[in-house]
Subunit: 357 residues, 5 copies
C-alpha cells in the first residue's frame, strides 16, 4: 500500500526523512573518456571532488539513502536545490523531470521482477548536467549493469557522447525493464483464464486481485514517466542535445507501448473477474439443479410410500395382492415422468455434461 516518507506536515521545505531501515549509502564513481574508464568503488566526497576536476564524463551512483549528512554534502557539491534533494530522499516521489540551473532532474521508478513473479518497485533519481550523471537509488543492486558493461566495452556511441546519452541509457534501461514485468503478468493472466473455467476457489480471486494491484502499481510507475520523457523529446531541456533527443523518442515509444499493454491487461483482468463471477453463478446453478432433481423425484415417491404406511383400519388397497407391485410401478412411472421433464428442460443429459467436465 501507499507509504511515503514525508516529514510531519508543516516542516520546512527540504526537510529530509531518513527511514530507520534505510541503507548506508554506497557511492560508486565511474570516470570515462573516449579512451578509458576508471571505477572507484566506495568513493568518498573528496575522491568525487578530485574526479570532477578531471576531464571525462563522471557517473556517480549512490545506492542507499541512509546518511543525511553525506547526502547533504554531496548535494552541496553538485549544487542540488534543497527541494530536489527532498524529492530524492523522501520517496516515493511521482516520476517527473525538472530543469534546474546546472542540471536536469529525472525522477524514475525502477521495476525489478524476481523469478517468482513478484514485482519490486524502487525510485531512481537521476541528475545530469555537464559531464556528469548522478543517480540515487533506495536499495543496493539495480538493473543497470548492462549500461555499466556498455561503458566498459566502449563500443557504440556511449563513451563518445555526452552525459545526456548516459542519462538516456539509464532511463531507457529502466523503462525497458517494464517489458518483462508486463509480459509476465500477461502470461499469468492467460494461465488464470484457463484455470478460471474449471476452478472457482477463492485462491483464483486473490490471484486476480493481486495481478490487478500489480498492474495498477506498474501503471502509476510508467504513466508519468511517459510525460517526463516526452518533455525531454520535445526539447524542453537544454541538457539534452538534439542527437540524443532521437533516442529519447525511441524511449518514449516504448513507454507508450507499455502503457498500452498495461491498459489492455487491466481490461483483460477485469474481464477475468467477471468471468469468475459468472462461473461461480453457473456452478451454483449446477448445484441447484442436482438438488432440485433429487428432491423433485424422491419427495413425491416418499409421500406415496407414506400414504400406504398409514395405519387406518379401513384401507382396502392394502389387502389387494397386486397393490404393492402396482404401487412400485406407479412410483417408477412418476420418477420417469420427472426425469423426462428435467431432460426436456435441458437440466440433465444435454447441458449438464459440458458444465461439470
Amino acid at each position: 500500500m501507499f507509504h511515503k516518507q514525508h516529514p510531519p506536515a508543516g516542516s520546512r521545505p527540504g526537510t529530509l526523512v531518513i527511514s530507520d531501515n534505510a541503507l548506508p549509502p554506497r557511492i560508486t564513481a565511474m570516470l570515462y573518456t573516449k579512451d578509458d574508464v576508471h571505477v572507484h568503488e566506495s568513493a568518498d566526497i573528496e575522491t568525487l571532488q578530485t574526479l570532477r576536476a578531471q576531464p571525462g564524463k563522471l557517473w556517480i551512483d549512490v545506492q542507499g539513502l541512509g546518511d543525511e549528512q553525506l547526502l547533504r554534502t554531496l548535494a552541496a557539491e553538485f549544487k542540488i536545490h534543497s527541494l530536489a534533494l527532498e524529492d530524492v530522499i523522501n520517496v516515493p516521489q511521482r516520476p517527473k523531470t525538472e530543469e534546474f540551473d546546472l542540471h536536469q532532474l529525472y525522477i524514475s521508478r525502477m521495476v525489478k521482477l524476481d523469478e517468482r513473479g513478484s514485482v519490486d518497485i524502487e525510485q531512481v533519481s537521476i541528475f545530469f548536467g555537464e559531464n556528469f550523471v548522478l543517480t540515487f537509488q533506495e536499495l543496493y543492486g539495480d538493473v543497470l549493469d548492462p549500461v555499466r558493461q556498455r561503458i566498459h566495452q566502449g563500443a557504440g556511441p556511449m563513451r563518445k557522447s555526452g552525459s545526456d546519452y548516459l542519462a538516456y541509457a539509464i532511463i531507457d534501461t529502466i523503462i525497458d525493464h517494464y517489458y518483462p514485468a508486463v509480459e509476465f503478468i500477461s502470461n499469468a493472466l492467460e494461465r488464470v483464464e484457463t484455470q478460471v473455467m474449471n476452478d472457482v476457489s477463492q485462491d483464483i480471486l486473490a490471484t486476480i486481485n493481486r495481478m490487478k494491484r500489480t498492474l495498477l502499481d506498474l501503471r502509476r510507475g510508467i504513466w508519468p514517466q511517459r510525460d517526463a520523457v516526452n518533455a525531454l523529446v520535445r526539447g524542453d531541456s537544454p541538457f539534452v542535445s538534439k542527437d540524443v533527443r532521437v533516442y529519447f523518442r525511441d524511449c518514449y515509444d516504448h513507454a507508450v507501448q507499455i502503457v498500452d499493454v498495461i491498459d489492455a491487461s487491466r481490461d483483460i483482468a477485469s474481464n477475468l473477474f467477471n468471468t469468475y463471477l459468472s462461473v461461480v453463478s453457473n456452478r451454483m446453478n449446477e448445484v441447484m439443479k442436482v438438488l432440485t432433481i433429487m428432491a423433485s423425484i424422491f419427495i413425491p415417491l416418499t409421500f406415496m410410500a407414506g400414504v400406504y404406511g398409514m395405519n387406518f383400519s379401513d384401507m382396502p388397497e392394502l389387502s389387494y395382492k397386486w397393490a404393492y407391485p402396482a404401487l412400485l410401478v406407479s412410483m417408477l412411472f412418476v420418477a420417469g415422468v420427472m426425469l423426462l421433464y428435467f431432460r426436456r428442460k435441458g437440466w440433465i443429459g444435454r447441458t449438464a455434461p459440458p458444465a461439470d467436465d
Copy 2:
C-alpha cells in the same frame, strides 16, 4: 453529506450566513521581521490597525466565523471584496484562487485526521498581499502550529521572505496533511482486504462504503487545490514572487501525488467491493452444496425406508430373513455412490476445504 451555508437564493450578492453554531472569532496577530516576532492573542480591530502600520510581515489568523459585524469590519480594513468575504463565510466554497487588486485569495480545504481514523474537513481561506497574510478558519484549532514554530525559530527563509512565502508555508502544510489521511485509508483498505476473504458480514460492507465516501470527500478537497496551486506556479498572480513559485511547484507535485494515490485507493476500494460480492456468492455456493449433499443422500434413503414401512398385506420381502440386512447394505451402497458422485464433481474433499478454512 453536502450542506452549504448559502443565503436564500435571490439574496443580494455578498449576503453572509452565520450559522447558529458558528464560533465567536478569535483573532491572533503575529508580527514578525527578520529579527523578532510579536504575537497578539485575541486582538481587536484597533490593534490590527496599529500593527499594520508597523514594519514587518503580519499574519492575522481568524478562527471562528460567528460575528458578522467583526468580520465585515475586518474585511473593510483589508479592502476585501464583498463576494470574497461571502466565499470566506458561506462555507464550503470550492477551493480556488482568485486575484484581487490588493491581494490574492486562496480557498483551501484542511483535513484533520483524528486518532480513530475519522477525517474532519474544514475550509481555510487565505488572503495574502503586501506584508500581510489573513487566514479565516471555521473552527478553533488547526494544523498550522508547525508554521508558527518556524516563524518563532526564525531559521530558514521564513522570516526573511515576503508574505507570499508564509502563504506558501500555510498552503503546503494544509496539503501535506492529506498524506496521513490517505495513508490511513490505504492501510485500512489493506486490513479490510484480508478480512473480506474470511468474513462477509454487513459490517465489512459498511466499512468499505465509509472509506469510499471519505476518499470521495478527500478528492473533492484536493482536486481543485491542485488547479489552484498550479495557477500560482504558472505565475498568474502578481502576489507570488518568482522565488516562491519554485516552492509552489513542490507543493503542486504533492497535490498531484495525493490525487494519484486517492484515485488508486478508490480503484482498490471498488475492487474490494467486487471481491466482497464474489465472496458472498462463494459462501452461498458452499451453503448450497452442503444442503444438496445432505438432501441428496438422505432423501432417497428415507424413501427406501418408507417403502418397507408400508402396510400392504402382501409384501413378500418383509418376511425374508436376509431382507433387512440386505436393505441396510443397499442403503450404504446408495449413500456411497452419491458421495462418490459429489467427490468427482469436486464438491467434497478437493475444493470444499480451502473454501471453509
Copy 3:
C-alpha cells in the same frame, strides 16, 4: 421523460409550437430608476411601448407561453430573431447563451423544489440589452420574488446598475435554487443509506432510481449553464459590463460547485445501488443457511426414524428394551454433531446474529 415541443421536422425555421395546455401569457412590467419603481401588472403591448420610451431600466416578465400572436408582437417590438423566439417557445431548449445585435439571450433552466421533495424544472429565457430585461417563463409563479423585492427596496447596486446587473441577479437566483434541491437529495441519500442496510424491499430500489433520475435531470439543467455563465465571465458578450462580470464569476463558482456536488451524489447513489444488491445477496445467504441447517439436521433424523418404522418381520433391534432410548440418544448425538459443524462453519452463533439484527 424527454418531451420537446418541436414542430414537425421540416417546418420552416422559427415555427412555433404552442402546446394545448400552455397558459395565456401574463405580462408584468417593472420600470425602475435610481429613485423609484413602477409596476404594471397585466401590461399590454401599448403599455410596454410607452414604458420603453421612458427613462429607466425596464424588466418585462412574461409568464405563460400560450398566445402565439402576442408573443410574436412582443418579439417584433424587441427585434427578437425568429430563431431566438423559437428557442423561447419550443421548450425545452438546452441552456446556452447567444449574442444578437441588440441583446444577449440566456436560456436557463429553473428548478423548484416543493416541500415533498419533488423537483419541477422549467425553462426561463432571458433577453437583456440596453435598459431592458425580458424574461419568458413557461408557468405562472417563479423563484424570482427576492429579486423583485431587492428592486423595490432599492438598497445595494441593483437600481443603480444597468440591466446586465438585473440579468445577473435573475440568473444567479435561478442557479442558487439548485442548492436546496441538491441538499434535499443529499439528505435523502443519507436516509436511504441507513435504510438499505435493514430493508431490501423494492420500494428502496424505486427510491434510489427516482433519485438517480432527478440527479440526471438536475445535471442536464446546470451543466450547460456552467458553460453559458462562463462565456459571460470571459467577456464574450458586449452586453455585460466589466463590473458585472465579477458577479458572474461568483455565479460561475456556484454552478461549478453544484455540478461537483451532483456528481458526488450520483457516485453515492450508484454506490447505494450496489449496496442494495449486496444486501439482497446477504439476505439470500441468511435464508439459505436457515434452510440448510433445518434440513441437514432433520432429514437424517427422519431417515433414522424411517428405518425403524419398517415392517420387516426380522428386525431384532425392535424387540430390545434399550433400543428405543438408545436410538433417541443417537439422534440427539447426530443433531449435536450437525450443530457443532454449523457452528464451526460460523453459520450459527457467531455470524448469524449481526446479520439478522
Copy 4:
C-alpha cells in the same frame, strides 16, 4: 449489425460497390426561382444539363443507388471527385462534411421511425454549390416532403435564398427527425420501467437490449453530424453564406440536444438493466423464503411423526391415552415457534406482501 458496402480491400480508390438489392435510381429535378417552380420527375442526364443552364436554383434528388453508369455520368456532370462518389455509393459512410473546389459535401444519416417503433437509418449525401443541391439517397421515400412543400409554397426565405439555404433546410429536417425517435424510445423506457418492477421475463431483457442497441445506432448517426454542422457554423466552408450560418447554429443546438437526450436515455437504459437484475434477485429471494418456511416447519414435524411410527416393541408413550393429543399439541407448538421466528426475521407478514403484490 454493421455492414458496409466496401470493395475488396486493395481496390483502386474510388471503386464503387453496387449492392444486388440496390434500387434503380429515380432522379427528380426541381428548378425554382423567386417566382416559380418546375419539377421534373424521372429526369435523365440531358434534362439535367438543360436545367443547369437555366437561371434559378436546382435541386436534383437521386433516390436509389443501383446504376453505376448513371451515377458516374452524373458525377462527371457535377465534377464530383471519385473519392466523394465512393463516399456516396459505398454506404454507410461516417457522417462528415468536406469541402471540394466546386461544392461542399455533407454526408448525413437519416432516421425514419415507423409506427411500430422500429427505426430505419439511411445515408443521405448532400452536395451543394453555386445554384445547385444534389442529394443521393439509398432508398425511395424520405422525410424531406415538408422541404419540397416549402419550395412550392414559396413563403419564407426559401425561394429567395441561395442553395446553401436549401442544403440547410434538408440537413435541418434530417436532424429534426431524430426527435420523434428519441421521444419514442424515451417513452418506451418509461413504460418498461414500470413493467420491470412486476415482470422479470426474458422478454423485458430483450426489449431493454433492443432499445440500447437503437440508442447506440442513433448516437452513431447524430454524434458526427454534430461536428459536421459545427464546422459549417464556424464558417469553414465558402459555400455557406453568413446569413445561413445563423440557421446552422440553430441546427447545431438541436444536434447537441439530441446527443444529450440520447446519452441520458442510455444512462436510464443501463439503470433499467440493473433494476431488472435486482428485481430478479429479489424474486429469487422470495422463492427461497417460501421454500425455507415450508421446509423448516414441516420437516421437523415429519420427523416427530416418524419417531412415533417406529415399531419398537417397547415404546411406552404409544400406549398412553393422552400421548397422541399431546404430540399433536407439541407439533402445533413447534410450528408456532417457527412461524414466530420467521415473522421476527421479517420473512412473513411485514416485508413479504409488498414484494409479491
Copy 5:
C-alpha cells in the same frame, strides 16, 4: 497475449532480436515506370543496388525477418536509422509514423481474417522516400496482392504517381482489411446474441470473451494508425505530396469508421455478457421455483401421511371408516391450495412457459 521481441533491457539502442522461428527473408523487387513493370523475385542486395540506379519507382518487399546480416546491409543501403530498423525487427511496435531525413517510416499492423474467423495480426513496416517504397513483413504472404495487380495493370494513377501513392495504396489496403474482420465479429455477436437467450453453457461465455479479446486487439492495431494517417493528412511529412494527401484523407475516414464500429461492438459485447449473467440468474430462478413448488406441495402431505402412520394405541381416527378417504380429500385440498397460491404468485402457468421455451 503480449509478447514483444525486445532485447534484454539495457542493450545498446538499435540491438536487434531475431526470434528463433523468424523466417529467412524473401526479397521481391518491383521496378515500374509509366510504361512497364519488372519484377525480381528473391532479389539480393546487388540486384537492388542495380535497380535503384535505374529510372522508375522501386518497391522492395521483404517478407521474413530472420537474417540480421541481410537486414542490416539493406538498412545501410537505404540509410535507415538503427532505431528505425529496431522498430522494424523488434516486433510488435506500436503503429506510428516518423519522418527521417531521406524517407518517411510508417509502422502498420496488418489483419488477416482466415475462413474460421480467427484473426492474425502482423506488423508491416513501410519506408517511403524518393522513388522507392520498402516494406518489411514478419511472415510470408500478405493482403497486398491487389496492389501488385494494380501496378501490373497500369490503369489508374498508380504507375503515373510517385512512391507516396504506392505507400498510400499499401496503407489503405491494410486498413481496409480491418473491415472484413469487424464485420465478421459483428455478425458473430449477432449470432451469439440469439444463442445466449436459450443456452447458458460456459462455451458461450468463452466465445464472448474471445470476441472481446479480438476486438481489443483490433482496436490496439487501428487506433494508433488513425493518428498516424492523420499526421500524413495534415501534411506533417515532406514525402507526401498534396495530391496524395486527399487520398490519405479518405483512408483516415475509414480508420475513424473502423474505430467507431469496434467501439460499438465492444459496447455490444459487454452488453451480451450482462445478458448472459442475467439469463443465468433467470435460469436459477426457474430451478428454484420448481424445487420450491415440489417441496412445498409434498412436504406437508408427507407430514400428514406420517401422522397417521404413527403407532399410538389410541388414535380414534384410524378406525373410522371414512377417515382414509377424508384424509385423501384433505390432501388433495392442501395440494390445490398450494398450487393456487403459486399460480397467483405467477410461478406456474403465466410466467413459467416463456422462460423455458
